[in-house]
Amino acid sequence: MPEPTLNRILYVEDDADIRTIVTMSLEKLGKFRVAACDSCAEALALVDDFRPDLLLLDVMMPDVDGPATLQVLRERVSTASAPAIFVTAKVQTGDIERYRKLGVLDVIIKPFDPMVLPGQIERIWQQHWSGANDYGG
């Protein structure tokens, strides 16, 4: 199976400053299409139209946090099978392990360098699909 191209990224982040930085990085450097939302609710409002290839979710958010948002999005047909990556400053003991168990591809730790962020995401994407290919035979 040929590797699908990463193009559309749904990014949920409550901090507007970081949202700006990430959006700028991914759009200008990575040439991706980014839908940046400040909450789970906003994301739900546009996913069906946007149909993202990848979900990029902040973990620590008020009301509905990253894992809960992921769970909600998994119930939507348009995002049920979209691979997800968490972005977090919360890297306490065992956190990364726990997130991986939720089915995310990887965890990007804040603070990250926006200059290399697009490349980092692209690499995770490629590793995921080559791994999936291996499993799929």
């Binding site: 901090d15 930085i21 200008k28 919360k90 003991t93 804040k110 603070p111 926006p114 200059m115």
Partner: protein
């Protein structure tokens, strides 16, 4: 001394007795001899007296005869002859005049009677001659009758004198016979006494022999007994010391010599109080002379012994008064009870710890039935000792741990002898509390389990404060990182000219801001790291780690960083089997830290060498650079937080000053040591030592891990 004196008195008495007996015997013999001599003499006197009888009887015959036959001439001649015979017999007595017998009266009486008888006999003969003359002259019968009458009268007087002499002789004879009888009796009595003496002497000899023999036997027995007692006294484990009534040491056995460090002859004659602690001397002297007690000092705690070198030891002292040869002697039996006292002290201490510690202690038998609990156990659980005794520790179970959990716990206890971890238990009042529990087994000499000991402490408060700290760390981490992410991200995009081109000066300023924001991020990371490691909050996943492989990976990961400084990282030829029990990631962190330090302090074009060495019981990993070295003044502070030798030189200032603190904290947690050697301008070598992994160590870890509670925050102690 006494015995000898008493003996000499006895000897003196015996000798005096023998002397008295001898004198008596000699006296007796002399008496007997004397009696014998007297007896002989008296017999001879008696014979002499007897010889007087016939001449005496003859003396009155001529008178009588002449009156009948008128033969005057013949009778005169007969009288002369008889008188001569008597005189001769009488002379025979003279030889005995000096005898002890009183014979003077006899002699005088006889001589008087003899003289009278002779005179009267002569007169009769004269009258007979006159009568003859008258008759021949034919004178008248009257004149003849007158003469005859006178003759008859004279004759009668002569008979009287004769009778007096005869009575004297007979009386003398009787007295002599009586005397002989007396002497005989005396002699017989003397001989009887001799017999008695001989008998007594014989008996005495026999008795002496018997006594002598017995004395000899007793002497041998005494000697044997004395040797036996000597052997006992010198070989018993107790010191035996006798003291006289003046308090001076009189004898000192070998054990005492060893115990007190004195030779017997150095201490004998000195006061016993030299052998006890100076403070107790007075008390000893008081107790010693209490008349009502024949024994004292049985309370061993009262006396401290003092050795010759002045050191003290605990002694058990029992003293008893006895009498030897009538002299009082105080026999001390002393036992060195230092070891026992120390053991008691240890026990007392252990008991005190058991009673006073704030950790709850519970001891069960091998079946897990509670045998003993301490006050802290009651304080924690609410169960009193009485309530807990005989129960199974299950009374404390909260139901919050699974059956598997307890199974694993007991498997560890049975296999490794111990288990430790966190358990949620239920107090008597139903409250559930977290506790840290440490279970150990106690085995007897043959390795059989006799008891299990559970030591526990309530960690409710600890858990609460840990939770607060964790939350604080998480919050700090998140709250600091979020704005930093924006700052750092913005600067990065600016610097990357994503938002448009920058002037050269602007780019320089952005780079400075960017570098310092990076520095701030590292600082936060390191502070959080140190806090987590030191609070032992960071979980360490122990596993066998091959050091060479890890070093190779660390070199690979840091080679690019080293290149920036124009430095090369190089592994020394190492030891292939070098394996330690460690957390791989943490160890990597240590290596990275040491390497980056070495790189930063190396001259451009330098080489940092990393090697492994085998030391006694551990592996040493060294990271060596050829930099300027660590200034002498800084060496004590190398591992202090925020310490940097080149604090003023910010040329390369990208460090946080926390790296070596983190390394030290990690190596400490892994049970190792960290250190360095520095020769200024030549080389600096940082190293850490980790214990060589044992097969046994490995199995222990496996067991510990298998027995861990499901909670992944289980700490690895030490």
């Amino acid at each position: 001394m006494n015995i000898r004196k008493r003996h000499s008195i006895e000897y003196l008495a015996a000798w005096l007795l023998i002397l008295a007996f001898s004198v008596w015997t000699v006296n007796l013999l002399l008496n007997i001899q004397d009696d014998w001599a007297q007896s002989n003499e008296i017999t001879r006197i008696d014979q002499a007296v007897h010889r007087l009888v016939n001449p005496w009887r003859n003396l009155n015959r001529p008178g009588n005869d002449v009156l009948e036959n008128y033969e005057v001439d013949g009778q005169s001649r007969a009288l002369e002859r008889y008188l001569a015979e008597y005189s001769e017999a009488r002379a025979g007595l003279e030889a005995h005049r000096a005898t002890k017998m009183p014979m003077a009266d006899f002699y005088d009486g006889m001589d008087e009677a003899a003289a009278m008888a002779a005179a009267l006999a002569s007169r009769v003969l004269q009258l007979a001659a006159e009568r003859e003359a008258l008759r021949l002259s034919g004178a008248g019968s009257d004149s003849i009758r007158r003469v005859e009458t006178e003759a008859a009268t004279t004759m009668a007087r002569m008979d009287q004198a004769f009778q007096v002499g005869l009575d004297l002789i007979v009386g003398m004879d009787e007295r002599l016979d009586q005397r002989l009888l007396d002497l005989d009796a005396s002699r017989r009595a003397g001989i009887g006494s001799l017999y008695v003496i001989v008998l007594v002497a014989l008996l005495s000899s026999v008795l002496s022999l018997v006594l002598l023999r017995r004395t000899v036997t007793q002497g041998e027995a005494l000697r044997a007994g004395a040797e036996r007692i000597n052997a006992i006294v010198n070989n018993v484990v107790d010191a035996i010391i006798t003291v006289d009534d003046a308090g001076k040491v009189e004898s000192f056995n070998r054990t005492a010599e060893r115990m007190f460090g004195y030779d017997a002859d150095r201490i004998v004659g000195r006061p016993f109080t030299d052998l006890i602690d100076a403070d107790r001397g007075e008390r000893y002297n008081e107790e010693r002379f209490q008349p009502e007690s024949t024994a004292f000092g049985l309370d061993e705690s009262e006396y401290l012994g003092r050795r010759r070198d002045g050191s003290n030891f605990y002694m058990e002292l029992a003293a008893t008064w006895i009498k030897v040869d009538g002299r009082p002697l105080l026999v001390h039996i002393v036992r060195d009870v230092t070891e026992r006292k120390q053991a008691e002290e240890r026990l007392r201490l252990a008991a005190s710890v058991f009673e006073n510690t704030t950790e709850g202690i519970l001891i069960t038998d091998s079946d897990g039935i509670i045998q003993s609990t301490n006050p802290a156990f009651t304080a924690i659980t609410g169960f009193t000792a009485d309530e807990a005794l005989g129960e199974n520790p299950r009374i404390l179970q909260s139901g919050m741990q699974s059956a598997d959990f307890y199974e694993a716990m007991w498997e560890s206890v049975t296999q490794t002898g111990h288990w430790q971890g966190e358990v949620n238990n239920r107090r008597k009042n139903g409250e559930i509390y977290p506790q840290w529990l440490n279970i150990n087994t106690i085995k007897d000499a043959r390795g059989k389990v006799t008891n299990y000991v559970g030591v526990t402490f309530d960690i409710s408060e600890l858990k609460a404060s840990e939770r607060i700290k964790d939350e604080f760390i998480a919050t700090v981490s998140h709250e600091l990182r979020t704005p930093l992410t924006s700052i750092h991200g913005s600067l990065s995009l600016l610097g990357g000219e994503v938002a448009g081109d920058l002037s050269e000066e602007s780019a320089k300023l952005v780079r400075i801001a960017q570098e310092n924001s990076q520095r701030l991020v590292r600082l936060i990371d390191d502070i959080l790291s140190v806090a987590k490691i030191e609070s032992e909050k960071m979980p360490f996943h122990l596993q066998p780690v091959a050091l060479e492989e890890l070093i190779a990976r660390a070199i690979e990961a840091n080679q690019d960083f080293a290149k920036q400084y124009g430095v090369r990282l190089q592994a020394e030829a190492g030891v292939h089997e070098a394996r330690v029990l460690a957390d791989k990631d943490r160890l990597m962190q240590v290596l990275t830290n040491l390497m980056s330090n070495a790189v930063k302090h190396s001259p451009r074009g330098g080489v940092v060498r990393i090697g492994v060495q085998r030391q006694a019981g551990y592996w040493r990993v060294c990271v060596v650079d050829n930099g300027p070295g660590i200034p002498e003044s800084f060496r004590d502070n190398v591992f202090s937080k925020f310490a940097q030798a080149d604090g003023t030189d910010r040329r390369r200032g990208s460090g946080t000053g926390l790296g070596l603190s983190i390394c030290q904290a990690i190596i400490d947690r892994l049970g190792g040591r960290i250190g360095f050697e520095s020769e200024s301008g030549i080389r600096t070598s940082f190293h850490f030592d980790l214990p060589v992994m044992q097969r046994q160590g490995m199995s222990n870890v496996t067991a510990t891990q298998s027995s861990e509670p499901l909670d992944s925050t289980m700490r690895v102690e030490r």
